[in-house]
């Protein structure tokens, strides 16, 4: 049925491969994907482990919709303890791995321990092998995929790391289908620390649902009435680059290390600029939209650049040359590092150099040096070795802490909180650090009708946004379908063969969110870490809509207090026993 009921567990220390029953009680309460993955991480890891040690686990989770025709369901959730932040970490990746894992008969893959020699895990339905991958060690993501696709079939799902993951770089990512990544929080370093170069999966089994005719009828209606609509089609016609003009108009586009929120070169890196390059569209399995923009310029190809890359690697570095951004993007994808953190780090290095605090030899807009950065950082060569440690480390060592744009050690993504106060709260409270995917309240605020420059109602707005994303990424559905909770309820009820109400989904979302929080509390995180860089509180933006504004510290504090209160946490941000009881945890 919608769950296979089977978890595949691989121990790289012992070489043991075992199958066990999926915890049904947890599946009922946490659904799958993000929620179920972090629940397993929380329960299976003891506190205080070194995320790069054999005690960490890499847990890959599908959801009840995976492998079915439910639109926009073809994504995989990954969870572990983060090497970059020490927090709970969950990531998401598109491409075919999730569906292949489900067709192979597994809801979840748990990878434990560390291999002694570089290994490649190969899954073919019931046949699971840990193969030697020494011949692949040192290869980039593109080379690795090409090689494995050749050997094991191009229709397989392949996850691999590049040099960055092998070297345990804190911003290392995992790549699939060349151009898709699970990128944040050092997820690639977790895989690298296990000496796991790649995972290849191919499945031939059936995925079934209790009411096939009912589901087909429901989905057919939804695809045409709810997916292929104005609200969602922008992601097909333009992709995420449509956000460049939005951010610029709202004054939140990170420019020159967040010194401003309006970039004079925005029109050179926006959706129109991307469209001129004539992208070919690419979708994940079962996606009726298709956000991927495949672009080739000379020797460089990307599926992208995505908005985050255009912002952090473009405007944030003072670069308006779309070809240079594409080249930087492609290098990051190949060596295997997160473009958000990479762009943020390079922007920081540029400001440090220009201010004369520390000469990293690079200034805003210096394309020649900038293009060397992905390899230097990913391979930890020259100054790349230090840069690869992230802005928190760099600021501690050299200064510039006021403008080290990170929360909990995770570099901030492409929305300036001074122009969207709810995003400030979202960044401060996401359990994996400065993240825009944990909750996206800006959509109805600075990008919608709600006043960005007040704290009124923002705590509730942010909590609702976080719960929305949480349940969506646990069922698993892609961000880009603006699906309502009611429709999620309709779909999950049909696929599970029983009524699952919106209230049940909301409760599960809150439960899942609290698991992430409890993990961090257990690791010793304090409410002081629910904060933002000084620049946000002290440096006014210069241009556009939020010109002259900061997010005032006292306002932020009040917003955070209300957030804790509404969440039923104590004044230290710790979930109370009453709240945990209410959530049946």
């Amino acid at each position: 049925m919608s769950y296979t009921g089977k978890v595949l567990r691989v121990n790289l220390n012992t070489g043991d491969v075992s199958r066990e029953a999926l915890n049904k009680d947890w599946a009922e309460k946490y659904f799958g994907g993000k929620g179920l993955g972090i629940k397993y991480v929380y329960e299976e890891l003891r506190e205080g482990i070194d995320p790069l040690s054999s005690a960490n686990k890499l847990i890959l989770t599908t959801g009840p919709f995976t492998g079915t025709i439910v639109p926009c369901s073809g994504r995989l959730a990954l969870a572990a303890k983060s090497p970059a932040t020490g927090t709970m970490l969950d990531c998401s990746i598109g491409g075919r791995f999730a569906t292949q894992l489900k067709f192979a008969g597994y809801d979840m893959l748990i990878i434990e321990g560390q291999a002694e020699n570089p290994a490649c895990l190969v899954i073919n339905d019931d046949k699971v092998e840990i193969r030697d991958a020494s011949y692949l060690w040192g290869k980039s993501i593109f080379e690795t995929e090409s090689q494995l696709g050749e050997e094991l079939g191009r229709e397989s799902g392949i996850l691999s790391i590049g040099t960055a993951g092998e070297k345990l770089v804190s911003i290392a990512c995992i790549g699939t289908e060349y151009y898709r990544q699970a990128a944040r929080g050092g997820i690639g370093a977790v895989m690298g620390s296990k000496k796991l170069k790649a995972i290849v999966c191919s499945g031939s089994k059936d995925v079934t649902v209790p009411d096939m005719p009912g589901l087909l009828k429901l989905v057919k209606r939804l695809i045409w009435e709810d997916v292929l609509t104005d609200a969602n089609l922008g992601i097909y016609t333009d992709g995420t680059p449509q956000i460049v003009d939005m951010s610029n108009s709202a004054g939140v586009l990170p420019t020159r290390n967040y010194q401003d929120g309006v970039f004079e070169g925005a029109s050179k890196i926006n959706a129109a600029a991307i469209r001129r390059l004539k992208p070919r569209k690419k979708a994940c399995p079962a996606c009726a939209l298709g956000c991927g923009n495949y672009i080739r310029i000379g020797d460089n190809a990307v599926e992208g650049p995505e908005y985050e890359t255009l912002a952090l690697v473009g405007s944030n570095c003072g670069v308006d040359d779309i070809e240079a951004i594409i080249k930087f993007n492609a290098e990051c994808d190949d060596v295997g590092i997160d473009t958000i953190s990479a762009g943020n780090i390079v922007g920081f290095a540029m400001e440090m150099t220009e201010r004369g605090i520390k000469d990293f030899g690079i200034r805003f807009g210096d394309i020649e040096t900038y293009l060397k950065m992905p390899r230097l950082i990913g391979c930890q060569e020259g100054m790349g070795e230090e840069l690869s440690r992230g802005v928190r480390y760099l600021a501690k060592k050299y200064g510039g802490i006021e403008f080290a744009m990170e929360v909990k050690g995770l570099e901030l993504p492409g929305y300036d909180p001074r122009g969207s106060w709810s995003m400030g709260l979202a960044y401060a409270t996401a359990y994996r650090g400065g993240c825009h995917m944990a909750g996206f309240p800006i959509a109805s605020e600075a990008f919608g009708a709600i006043d960005p420059f007040t704290i009124e109602g923002k705590a509730k707005l942010t909590i609702d946004a976080q719960h929305y994303c949480t349940i969506k990424f646990s069922l698993i559905l892609c961000d880009f379908w603006a699906i309502s909770l009611e429709t999620m309820s309709e779909l999950i009820s049909c696929v599970r063969g029983r009524e699952i109400s919106v209230a049940e989904l909301e409760k599960a979302a809150e439960r899942i969110w609290n698991v992430g929080r409890l993990f961090n509390v257990r690791e010793g995180f304090k409410s002081g870490e629910d904060t933002l860089p000084d620049r946000i509180f002290k440096d006014p933006l210069k241009s556009g809509t939020p010109a002259g504004r900061v997010l005032p510290r006292d306002q932020f504090d009040a917003m955070l207090r209300e957030y804790y209160q509404l969440r039923g946490w104590d004044s230290n941000g710790i979930p109370t026993p009453e709240k945990l009881k209410e959530l049946e945890m």
Partner: protein, 133 residues
């Protein structure tokens, strides 16, 4: 009736494969679909290709019991006459004939004139071309 893939419109979502196996066999399994969509990167380049039944009739020739016949521009299957020998599966040059686990022969029969894959493709990438025969 020929089915043709517009490779510029196809995003590789595979909804067509899922609906085919769903309608024919009541399961989601792209390997059981009577069409194949390849959409992926080879050496970094996007390659898109679709394989549909093009009425080469190798299966009709291979079938020892006459369970597969061709008429009016599509194949039809007499499940009763099928001996589950699997010769048609081997004969199909595209590998899009399958014997399901329940012993049912899954062959593209154009869904009786209104192919599901055509109807479900979100970007109208699968086109029907009425052939002369």
């Amino acid at each position: 009736m020929k089915l043709v893939l517009d490779t510029e419109r196809c995003t590789g979502c595979g909804i067509c494969e899922l609906v085919c196996s769903a309608v024919k066999e009541g399961v989601f399994n792209p390997r059981m679909a009577c069409l194949k969509i390849h959409s992926g990167y080879r050496k970094g380049d996007l390659i898109v290709r679709g394989e549909f039944c093009d009425l080469c009739l190798e299966c009709v020739e291979a079938c020892p019991t006459g369970a597969i016949t061709s008429e009016n521009g599509s194949l039809s299957i007499d499940q009763e006459s099928c001996s589950e020998c699997g010769l048609c599966v081997d004969a199909c040059p595209y590998g899009i004939i399958n014997l399901s686990s329940s012993g049912k022969l899954l062959i593209c029969d154009r869904c009786g004139g209104s192919p599901e894959c055509v109807g479900w493709c979100p970007h109208e990438a699968i086109k029907k071309e009425e052939s002369a025969t």
